[in-house]
């Protein structure tokens, strides 16, 4: 991600709390995780920010959604999942030309494993569990990204 010449991100931070929630309503999020507890948690975390995520339980379901034409601004991708795991799903999505923000959320903490996951095409990788600070960070990054796209 590169900031264009003269792009200023400081103006984005002036939004009030309510504005933030309202503007976030336009962002679409997909949660991909095989653990129903995590899906419930992430869903709630995101709802607090005014987001209404879709949730699926494995990588294949995520890829299928994109194949039928759905699109999401942000994908939260678990690493270990049956049928198709996070690494495979991310590679597949990137091969399909999807350039949504894909964020790995994994319980594996080993550096090398997070690196492998990053190399499949992630924008960021975090250790579970998701926290409000991480979401704030990601939303800021998303806003910057959307601004970049609009300024092209």
């Amino acid at each position: 991600m590169v900031l264009g010449n003269g792009a200023s991100s400081s103006s984005l931070n002036m939004k009030s709390g309510e504005d933030k929630v309202n503007s976030n309503k336009n962002l679409s999020v997909l949660v991909v995780d095989d653990d129903p507890l995590i899906r419930m948690l992430h869903d709630m975390h995101l709802k607090k920010f005014g987001l209404n995520p879709q949730v699926v339980e494995d990588g294949k379901k995520a890829v299928d959604l994109f194949r039928i034409g759905a699109s999401f601004d942000l994908i939260l991708m678990d690493k270990e999942m049956p049928v198709m795991n996070g690494v495979e799903a991310t590679k597949e999505l990137r091969d399909m030309g999807i350039n949504s923000m894909i964020v790995g959320v994994t319980s594996r903490g080993l550096e090398i494993e997070m690196q492998d996951f990053m190399e499949s095409g992630l924008d960021f990788c975090f250790e579970k569990p998701l926290t409000p600070d991480m979401i704030t960070f990601l939303l800021n990054e998303l806003n910057k990204k959307n601004d970049d796209d609009n300024n092209d």
């Binding site: 653990d35 129903p36 507890l37 995590i38 419930m40 948690l41 319980s107 579970k128 569990p129 926290t131």
Partner: protein, 149 residues
């Protein structure tokens, strides 16, 4: 017992759970997610944790009873249990899971069996404690009070 006493009892009880390592910061985060629009969120998540854990513990028992133990399978179950216990802040359960996974990697059956016993024990402890805590909360709510955070 009057309302104020009940509320104090709850605060003390919760504090002890944190001090004794039964719960950690993650549980606090969970409580912070609950609000008027989702007043039963914590209970729902914890109930899901109970269901999940019981299923996983049964699977683990079965897997370790096999003639030829499939350590990959055992590890996968422990990984899940570690994940969910960590998500709700059940710290002691999570810690046993970490040791459990090491034994899986070493393909050490004795170690695994021992860990299974330990994790069952820790799980039933935290289950009892959480249930007691919810009961106290319910008593307070029934008496017309609010839950001190």
């Amino acid at each position: 017992m009057d309302l104020v006493q009940l509320q104090r009892q709850l605060v003390d009880y919760k504090t002890s759970l944190y001090n004794e390592g039964f719960l950690d910061e993650q549980f606090t985060q969970l409580q912070e997610l609950q609000d008027e629009n989702n007043p039963d969120f914590v209970v729902e998540v914890v109930s899901l944790f109970f269901e999940d854990s019981e299923r996983l513990l049964n699977e683990l028992t079965k897997a370790l009873e096999q003639q030829s133990v499939d350590f990959k399978r055992v590890d996968a179950h422990v990984h899940q249990l570690k994940g969910s216990s960590s998500s709700i802040g059940a710290q002691r359960v999570q810690k046993v899971c970490i040791a459990f996974r090491n034994y899986c990697e070493e393909q050490n059956i004795e170690g695994c069996v021992k860990c299974l016993q330990q994790v069952r024990h820790e799980y039933s402890l935290v289950k009892t404690k959480l249930e007691s805590m919810f009961q106290l909360q319910q008593q307070i709510l029934s008496a017309g009070g609010s839950i001190p955070m």
